[in-house]
Symmetry: C2
Subunit: 109 residues, 2 copies
DNA sequence: TTATCATATGAACGGTTGCTCATATGTTCA
DNA sequence: TGAACATATGAGCAACCGTTCATATGATAA
C-alpha cells in the first residue's frame, strides 16, 4: 500500500499561492532566463541607452535587440522614451536590480 | 552617418560582469522560469517533502517531478536525504525564497 | 518630397525543453 | 529470494523560443 500524506498535502496546499500567480511568477523568471536579456538589463543598470548602442555593446543585430526589448517592455521591466529618431530604454523599477542581485548572490556564495 | 556612442559603450562595458557569469545568471533564472519548478519550490517553502507527495500535490506524474527535482538539485536549489525507500527534498538555501519573493513583489505592486 | 537613419515587426528555421512511456535502480519486508 | 513500493533515468515527441532575414514604420534634414 502506497504511503499516505493527505494531512501534509492539506496543509501545504492551503499555503500555496493561486495557480495564476504561480504561472505569472514562472513567466516573469522566464524573461530573466536568457543571457541576451540579462545583458540588456545589466547594460541599463546605470543609465538609459538607445537600441543601436545596446546592439553595438552586445555585438548583436538591431532586430534581435528590438525583439528582446519588446519582451522586456511587455513585462514592465523596461520603459522607453523617444528623442527624435532615437528611442532610449531604461530599467522600469528597482526590482530588476534586486532580482538579478539575488541570483548573483546564489551563484557567488 | 549613424550616430556614435563609443564613449558610452566604453564606460558601460567596463561595468559589465564577465560573460560567463552573465551566462550562469541566465541559466539560473531559466530554472525559475517554469511553473512546475516554481510550484515544487513553493511546496518546499516550509518543510521537506517526498517525491510522491509533491507529485500528488501538483497532480503530476512521479516521473515528471523526478526529472524536475534533478534539474533543481543540479542547480543547488534543493537538497535531499533518504529515509528507507523514501527520499525527502528540501530547499537548499534562503536564496530560493528571496528570489521568488522579489519576483512576487514585482508582480503585486 | 526624397533620402537616410533609428526602430519595429512578421515569418520561418533550428535548437531547446518538459512531458510521457517504458524500464532500471534501490530499499524494505515477508 | 521475491514481491511491492519509491525513485531515477533514457528515448522520443510536441511545443516553445531566440535568432535571422526581409520589410515596414516613423522621424529628420536637405
Amino acid at each position: 500500500m502506497p504511503h499516505n500524506h493527505d494531512a501534509l498535502l492539506e496543509h501545504v496546499k492551503a499555503d500555496m499561492p493561486a495557480d495564476e500567480l504561480l504561472q505569472d511568477l514562472g513567466d516573469l523568471f522566464k524573461i530573466f532566463g536568457d543571457t541576451t536579456r540579462i545583458k540588456i538589463m545589466y547594460a541599463l543598470y546605470e543609465d538609459e541607452m538607445c537600441v543601436c548602442a545596446i546592439a553595438d555593446l552586445l555585438g548583436m543585430t538591431q532586430s534581435a535587440i528590438s525583439h528582446q526589448l519588446k519582451v522586456l517592455k511587455a513585462a514592465n521591466l523596461v520603459e522607453s522614451r523617444r528623442d527624435g529618431k532615437t528611442i532610449y530604454y531604461r530599467l522600469a523599477d528597482e526590482h530588476v536590480k534586486s532580482i538579478i542581485a539575488q541570483g548573483y548572490e546564489h551563484l557567488t556564495e
